[in-house]
Every structure is written in structure tokens, then in C-alpha cells.
């Protein structure tokens, strides 16, 4: 595999985490424009853990995703009563708060005579875990995909379970779900926390892949893309957002000939799909048909 192919594939894998985290919130019936913040929190926290405090990579991953999950819990608890547009605005505001907050955070320690740590808008460099431990980009790509696979398996298992049915019920009609005796608030909060955790994990991986991060990486366009991936690929299964990521990054960005036109093609794709397939390629109805067809085979 060429370095270029590895970097495209790794990018797809890492962005897929944000896409999945936006997807689970979409499934529970809300639109979040703030999933990039959890990605950013995961990136910064895990980067600090390995680069500044010398933590092992595994612990940094756990810490980064847990801090992101805690942030998601706080946001979820505060926005639980908000619906639709208001929820979307609240999450956007939160994400911008985090991004601007990162712009003014200066926490550095001296390591080998060099200052290491987040330096506001100057960013946070020298997250050198990969070099220090002789991890090749190819090996790192396998780490990304192993973790992504694990998250996907969990999501697919949840989707088959009672909890998955409950989450879809809330997404379709929260009031009707409540009259079936479902604790809508707790379930929503659970989903939001889980979404923060997934995005945070992706952020951890991103920080150690890029070795340099800055607050502007985690701007709202990342969150918008994450939403779009679910809406393109389909909201009927966790594989939907993956399809969205592959289409956008794998195809539009990966194929060099059309690279310059990526945003134009992507915008057009979103617009067309929203008209002809409002809930994406693999929406609930299509998934239902596929399952029935598989059962007959």
C-alpha cells in the first residue's frame, strides 16, 4: 500500500468515528452540530496524556474517550428538554465554546528542553507517540480499523437488541414511545453519552496520527460533514454512515482526478440524495427489505 493510500484509508477510518457518533444522535431523533467538539476533546486530552504526561497509548485512549463522554453527559443533561432546532443550536454553541476555549488554553511542560502542550491558536504539536514507539502508518491504520470494527460491532449488536428498537421508537415519535412506557430522557442521555465516547475515541486516534492538532481542525464543518455522511449512507443501519465516509473521502478525495471538485460534488450529492432518498441510501425501509430478503434465502 502506498503512503497516500494509507493516509486516505486512515482518514476514512478516523472520520468514520465522528460520522457514527452523529448517526446515533440522528437515530434517536435529534440533529447535533456539535459532535466535532467531542472529537476535539478526545484529541487534546489523549495527546496531552501521551505527549506531556508520558502515559501509555491505551490509557490515553480510554482517558480521551471518557472525558469526551463526560462532556457529552453534561451537554446531554443540559439539553435534554430541547428539541429539533433548539437542540441543534445548543450543540453548535457548545462546540464553538470548546473550540474557542481551546484557542486560549496554554498548558505546556518542558520535555527535553522543548515546550510541549496545547499552545492556544498555535496548536498542539509533537504528539510523537508513533515515532517513539516505531509504529508504522500501516500498523496504525490497523489499530484504527480494529477499533472502528469494535465500535461497529457494538452498534450493530445494539441495533438488533431491545435497546436498539427503543432508540428507533424514540427517534420516530418520542411521545408515542413514552406512552409505551419508555423512559425517553434516560435513553436519549445514554445515546448522547455514547455518541460523545465514539467521537472522543476517534479524536484520540486522530491526534496520534496527525501528531499536530489545532482548534480549527474541530470547526463546525467537521460536524456538518459527519451529519451528511449519515444522511447520505442511510439512517437504517450503522453501516450507512460508513458508506457516506467512503463515498466522500474514499472516492471524492481519494481519486486525484476529481480532487479539486470535491466540495462541489459533495454538496451536489447531498442535495440530490435529500430529494430522492431523504433518509439516505440504506434507510429503514430498505434495510427492512434487505433483512426480509436475507431471511428468505
Amino acid at each position: 500500500m502506498s503512503e497516500y493510500a494509507i493516509s486516505i484509508a486512515s482518514n476514512m477510518g478516523m472520520i468514520a468515528f465522528v460520522a457514527l457518533s452523529a448517526y446515533v444522535v440522528l437515530v434517536v431523533g435529534e440533529i447535533s452540530f456539535g459532535q466535532q467538539a467531542y472529537f476535539g476533546i478526545g484529541a487534546y486530552v489523549s495527546g496531552m496524556a501521551t505527549a506531556m504526561w508520558g502515559w501509555p497509548f491505551g490509557f490515553a485512549l480510554v482517558l480521551g474517550s471518557c472525558v469526551a463522554a463526560i462532556a457529552a453527559f453534561a451537554v446531554g443533561a443540559l439539553t435534554l428538554r430541547l428539541r429539533g432546532l433548539y437542540f441543534a443550536i445548543a450543540t453548535l454553541c457548545f462546540a464553538e465554546m470548546i473550540r474557542l476555549g481551546l484557542n486560549s488554553i496554554h498548558v505546556q511542560v518542558e520535555i527535553d528542553g522543548e515546550p510541549v502542550g496545547p499552545d492556544g491558536a498555535e496548536g498542539f504539536g509533537d504528539i510523537r507517540w508513533m515515532f517513539e514507539h516505531d509504529v508504522t502508518t500501516l500498523e496504525y491504520m490497523f489499530i484504527i480499523y480494529a477499533l472502528l470494527g469494535a465500535v461497529l460491532v457494538v452498534l450493530l449488536l445494539v441495533e438488533r437488541s431491545n435497546l436498539g428498537a427503543v432508540i428507533r421508537m424514540i427517534g420516530q415519535d418520542p411521545l408515542l414511545a413514552r406512552s409505551q412506557g419508555i423512559d425517553v430522557g434516560t435513553c436519549k442521555l445514554l445515546v448522547i453519552v455514547f455518541s460523545g465516547m465514539i467521537a472522543g475515541l476517534g479524536g484520540c486516534l486522530y491526534a496520534h496520527f496527525a501528531t499536530y492538532i489545532e482548534p480549527n481542525v474541530f470547526n463546525v464543518m467537521l460536524g456538518v460533514h459527519a451529519l451528511a455522511y449519515g444522511l447520505i449512507g442511510g439512517l437504517g443501519t450503522a453501516l450507512g454512515p460508513i458508506i457516506g465516509v467512503v463515498l466522500d473521502i474514499g472516492f471524492l478525495e481519494g481519486v486525484r482526478a476529481i480532487q479539486g471538485y470535491r466540495m462541489i460534488a459533495f454538496g451536489g450529492l447531498v442535495a440530490i440524495l435529500l430529494i430522492i432518498m431523504p433518509r439516505g441510501i440504506l434507510d429503514e425501509v430498505r434495510i427492512h427489505h434487505i433483512k426480509r430478503w436475507l431471511r428468505r434465502q
Binding site: N162, A165, V166, R168, M169, Q172, D173, L175, L176, A177, R178, S179, Q180, G181, I182, D183, D283, E284, V285, H288, R292
Partner: protein, 239 residues
């Protein structure tokens, strides 16, 4: 028996229920009539634990459930078929039925499957469409599905909010005959209706709700004799 005493429910500054007292006796069909904005739906939501009342009490067979959560109300045997939002549209008919019993699925799965089979016996048209997305059913079939799903929780009291809304007259008659049938099998019914004529035919007790208060309580026969009620709320002298 469901008892509601001095129930007050507010939306911000607006008092939708201003102290409602009524009861639904075991094994009867109790009907609540009233114009738009009378508080009928608010009353149902308050009983089902979806809205929290400000004051007053709700009890089932002597057990206090005021202001409890929706899951608790359901566990106490109260099932609600909300108005106009009948089914989970992109879930299949069978998934909708399972949704009605999801609290029981973990415990006795086989009993739930039995109940689904019973629902199919009662509503053969649902069986033919078991794999179809519920949103593609006709209005009447969706109402049937909503009733069947509510029955999946094995309720003592079935609360139905305007089941005849938007249905063809023939289908309305079918819905009402199903309500009577369920009642004969021992389920108490609390019915909110605008279709007073139909509702009075099957009700054993009638309440008239107006602007958050009970304006009349009696049997359908009593209403027939009350000239003022007839003219003010029911439009014509039907009896």
C-alpha cells in the same frame, strides 16, 4: 377502577385542567366528551404520566400514581392510544406490536409471542401485513394496529384519544365495535371522543369536559334528557 380527583395541569401560565374529578369504573366504558380545547387530551396525558399535574391525584384500584412516570402508569395497567400519532411509521406491523410489549419482552418472551398471535386472530388484516411498514397502512388499519399494540401491555384500562378521527364512517363503526368487544372481554375503557353520537351508544357513563372543568356527569340517558347540554355541546337534539 381509575379515580381522578381535583386534577390541575398547567402549560406555563395556562391552566388546561382546573380541577377535574372523575372516575372510570372497572369493566365499563367511560366516555369523555367536550369541545376542542376542553382539556381532554391533557387529561389523558396527565393520567398516563406523560404530563405532570400540578395538583390533585390519580389512583388505580386505590394505588396512587399521581405524577409518576409513564413506565409506572403502564405497569399499573394503564395503556394509552394517543390521538393522531398511532404507529411508528417506519417500523413493521410486527415490530409495532412488539413495541407495545417491550417491557415484558425480557421476562416472558413466549407469552408476548402468544399475545401477538392473539392480536393477529383479532385483526386478520394485520397478519397479512405483518412485515409491512406501519406507515403504509390505511388510516383504519393504523387505528387497529394502535389498539392491538396498546393491548400488548395487557392493560386493565385502555385510554383512547379520539379513535374515530379522520376515519371513514364504516371504519368508525368497526373501531367502535372493537372497543365494545374489548370491553366485554373485561377491559375498562376510557374514551375521549368528538363523535358524540357514536360514543353515547356504547358508553356506560359520560363526562362532559369544558374549559378544564367537568360540566356534566351522568349516563347517556341523562344527557338525552338534558336540553341545555344537548343544544350547547351536541349540536342537535339527537335522542
Amino acid at each position: 377502577m381509575l379515580e381522578v380527583r381535583d386534577l390541575v395541569t398547567v402549560y406555563g401560565a395556562i391552566e388546561a385542567l382546573k380541577g377535574v374529578t372523575l372516575s372510570a369504573k372497572q369493566g365499563e366504558i367511560t366516555c369523555i366528551l367536550g369541545p376542542n380545547g376542553a382539556g381532554k387530551t391533557t387529561l389523558m396525558y396527565s393520567i398516563a404520566g406523560i404530563l405532570k399535574p400540578r395538583s390533585g391525584s390519580v389512583s388505580v384500584n386505590g394505588r396512587e400514581i399521581t405524577g409518576s412516570s409513564a413506565p409506572y402508569a403502564l405497569a399499573c395497567g394503564i395503556a394509552l392510544v394517543p390521538e393522531n400519532r398511532l404507529v411508528f411509521p417506519s417500523m413493521s406491523v410486527e415490530e409495532n406490536l412488539r413495541a407495545g410489549a417491550f417491557r415484558r419482552l425480557r421476562g416472558d418472551r413466549s407469552a408476548v409471542l402468544e399475545d401477538i398471535d392473539k392480536a393477529y386472530v383479532r385483526f386478520p388484516s394485520l397478519k397479512r401485513r405483518r412485515d409491512q411498514a406501519a406507515g403504509t397502512l390505511s388510516g383504519g388499519e393504523q387505528q387497529m394496529l394502535a389498539v392491538a399494540r396498546a393491548m400488548m401491555s395487557r392493560p386493565n384500562i385502555l385510554m383512547m384519544d379520539e379513535p374515530s378521527l379522520g376515519l371513514a364512517p364504516l371504519v368508525v363503526s368497526e373501531v367502535f365495535s372493537i372497543i365494545s368487544q374489548l370491553n366485554k372481554e373485561g377491559v375498562s375503557i376510557l374514551l375521549v371522543e368528538q363523535n358524540a353520537h357514536k360514543a353515547l351508544q356504547i358508553a356506560s357513563h359520560v363526562y362532559l369536559l369544558d374549559q378544564g372543568r367537568v360540566a356534566f356527569s351522568g349516563t347517556p340517558g341523562d344527557i338525552g334528557e338534558d336540553d341545555i347540554i344537548q343544544r350547547a355541546y351536541l349540536g342537535s337534539k339527537a335522542a
